[in-house]
């Protein structure tokens, strides 16, 4: 069970998120006006309306109570928490996926794997690791690539560069 923190920190993030969700729901409501069939808009309209109600309730609750669910998200971890590494992981994945139509799956995969490996590396790069890790990386990427493209016959993108 989550224990409500007694620190008195107010749930600002929750309130802001609720505002964002209200905007999203309003956008959804606006989009339903372009739909032609009542079968298509009844349900999303009801849900978007409900979402706005719940968000307003949450905001009201946070304003009245002042404190709410504000646990330390990084609790249970030891040592420093590295935000750059987090950003790096997401950026590497996004970049390689967006580049995939040009680079193809293999190149994107090798790049993503390599970059993420650097971001996830906390141990020192001993000479052994310098050799073993990149080889393991190549083996994993090539192994999965072969499994998917040759055995499971998934048409993995080739990339414009290689056509």
């Amino acid at each position: 069970m989550q224990i409500e923190s007694k620190s008195g920190k107010s749930d600002i993030a929750g309130t802001v998120t609720a505002v964002v969700f209200i905007l999203l729901a309003s956008l959804a409501l606006w989009d339903t006006t372009t739909m032609t069939d009542s079968d298509s808009y009844v349900f999303p309209r009801a849900i978007a309306a409900a979402m706005i109600v719940f968000c307003v309730l949450l905001i009201a609750y946070n304003l009245v109570r002042g404190a709410a669910d504000s646990r330390d998200a990084d609790a249970g971890t030891s040592g420093p928490v590295s935000t750059p590494r987090r950003v790096g992981l997401v950026a590497a994945m996004l970049f390689s996926s967006l580049a995939m139509p040009w680079t193809g799956f293999l190149l994107s995969g090798v790049f993503a794997f390599g970059a993420i490996m650097l971001f996830a590396m906390y141990d020192p790069w001993t000479p052994r690791r310098r050799i073993v890790f990149p080889l393991a990386a190549l083996a994993v990427v090539l192994g999965f690539y072969t499994l998917f493209s040759k055995v499971l016959l998934v048409p993995l993108p080739v990339g414009f560069w290689f056509r």
Binding site: M1, A28, M35, S40, V42, I47, T77, M93, D123, V140
Partner: protein, 502 residues
């Protein structure tokens, strides 16, 4: 037992080999996030052209059953359901793995899957024709109420803040609407973007919402992924069997739920797992520990989702209406082989059907040793691989797996973006499970509602449609009970002066 003569036909070395190979391949495929049972079976179809129908069915059934079980690995070890059926496995599986009980969780999942698979197959063997009628008795309005029942799990999964859980579920329900509406033809919430045209694919959303946040937090610190407790304890099979025996009622109930939900075309393993989980939680003495690493949660989900295999074959073989998505592929393969499904299949083509059912039972039994060994290996590799290799491997798997579901790069990008959104939301107190619940149940709820409304309006009996049908009333009753049961029980325990510290 029916058609016992066919047991010997199922026991030919070739069929045994197919059953074993199928279970092993299925388990491996199912454990990779993104590779679903449907896909595993679809890949096999051309291979089965040259086989006897019964052998082809055994191979496809074995792969299917293995894939459903394999989904538990990534659910337990990576917090990512390998197949949608394993969603509810993550709720307790991952917390167990985090505290160092991953090996026990996997063995429990294996035992539960075998039990569920056997119960489902037993129903298929003995009661298929009458049970198929259940599939037909379930109309649109029943699906609607079933989805509503599933949504009551929000209160259990919203991590202490019900409002945030409800908002998350609404977010999921809206996400489900993106793209071309499945039954009305409108194109919704794409805002002119072709990327969103195909909608949010459920499995890629699962991978994004559950797995990416784990990866993001994993790279942020040098900590180990899972806690490792001292030295290896083997399979922990004895421990798992003891736990299973203690909760045998849970296992049987969940298996029966799984079979029944499997019979319903359009529900499937994910709903079966969620419903069984919900019921197990409600009736358990340790309800409060559900979601924090409670073995009963894994047992409920895993037995229920494997029971859908047998259950799903019931309408597939008896009515020619596929019970689950993989069944649709199997049905197609049978059609190409010239096998006509229908009630006559059981009487005129008993050789095919019963040989297959015994083959399926065999494959399920073989899953015990095969599953334990593969599971052990999966667990060991996850805890021993250095972080610098584990994180990129998992990240790469999520990318290739997501791509493979619909051969779509857009899905990969959507998966990553959803993952980042999910990570932020989770930090702000909106846990991912209600979102996923909305995403999965939204489509079923909407279709059921719209269809029931259309029929009800046409026959000028909307009240009767929504509140006048016996099966609906039963589901509504269950919904109310699971909503208010915690309150009632609190009242009771207060009256009795009993204390429940944990």
């Amino acid at each position: 037992m029916t058609g016992l003569d066919y047991l010997w036909q199922a026991l030919t070395p070739f069929n045994l080999l197919l059953a074993l190979a199928g279970v092993v391949a299925g388990t491996v495929i199912g454990s990779l996030p993104g590779l679903t049972a449907t896909m595993a079976v679809a890949v096999l179809v051309p291979i089965t052209f040259s086989m006897e129908p019964a052998s082809a069915l055994i191979l496809m059934g074995a792969i299917y059953t293995g894939a459903i079980y394999g989904g538990a690995y990534s659910a337990i070890l990576l917090n990512t359901p390998g197949t949608p059926s394993a969603i509810a496995t993550t709720f307790d599986g991952y917390p167990m793995a985090k505290r160092g009980d991953g090996d026990l969780a996997i063995t429990l999942a294996c035992v539960s899957s075998v039990v569920g698979g056997l119960v489902g197959a037993a129903f298929l063997l003995g009661l298929a024709p009458p049970l198929a009628e259940v599939a037909l008795a379930f109309g649109p309005v029943e699906y609607f109420w079933l989805a509503v029942f599933g949504l009551t799990l929000i209160s259990a999964l919203s991590d202490g803040n019900l409002l945030k859980g409800l908002i998350g579920a609404c977010f999921g329900l809206l996400l489900a609407c993106i793209g071309v509406a499945e039954i009305s033809a409108d194109i919704r919430f794409t805002f002119g973007s072709q990327v969103l045209l195909g909608g949010i694919e459920t499995v890629s959303a699962l991978i994004g919402l559950y797995c990416i946040p784990v990866m993001i937090d994993l790279v942020a610190t040098p900590d180990r992924h899972l806690k490792v407790t001292t030295e290896s304890k083997g399979f922990r099979l004895r421990e798992a069997l003891a736990v299973s025996w203690k909760s045998k009622f849970n296992l049987i109930r969940s298996s029966v739920i799984g079979t029944l939900v499997g019979i319903l075309p359009g529900a499937g393993g994910s709903i079966a797992g969620l419903v069984a989980y919900s019921e197990a939680r409600r009736s358990s003495k340790r309800s409060d520990s559900f979601g924090t690493g409670e073995p009963e949660g894994i047992q409920a989900t895993e037995s229920a989702n494997n029971a859908t295999v047998g259950g799903g074959f019931i309408p597939t073989l008896v009515l020619g209406i596929p019970g689950t998505p993989p069944d649709a592929v199997i049905l197609g393969a049978l059609l190409i082989q010239g096998v006509r499904t229908g009630p006559s299949l059981f009487t005129e083509n008993g050789a095919i059907v019963y040989t297959f059912i015994y083959g399926l039972i065999l494959a399920t039994i073989l899953m015990l040793p095969a599953g334990l060994i593969i599971g052990r290996y999966a667990y060991k590799s996850i805890i021993t691989i250095p972080k610098a290799l584990l994180v990129p491997t998992v990240a790469f798997m999520t990318m290739i797996g997501t791509y493979a579901i619909r051969n779509s790069i857009s899905d990969v990008v959507i998966m990553i973006v959803l993952g980042v959104i999910g990570w932020f939301l989770n930090r702000f107190g909106f846990s991912p499970s209600p979102i996923v619940l909305g995403l999965i149940l939204g489509r079923i709820a909407e279709q059921g509602f719209v269809q029931a409304w259309t029929i009800g309006a046409a026959t000028e009996d909307l009240t009767g449609m929504f509140f006048g049908r016996p099966i609906s009333l039963v589901i509504i009753a269950f919904t109310l009970v699971s909503l208010f049961y915690p309150l009632i029980r609190k009242r009771w325990s207060m009256k009795g002066g009993a204390v429940s510290a944990d």
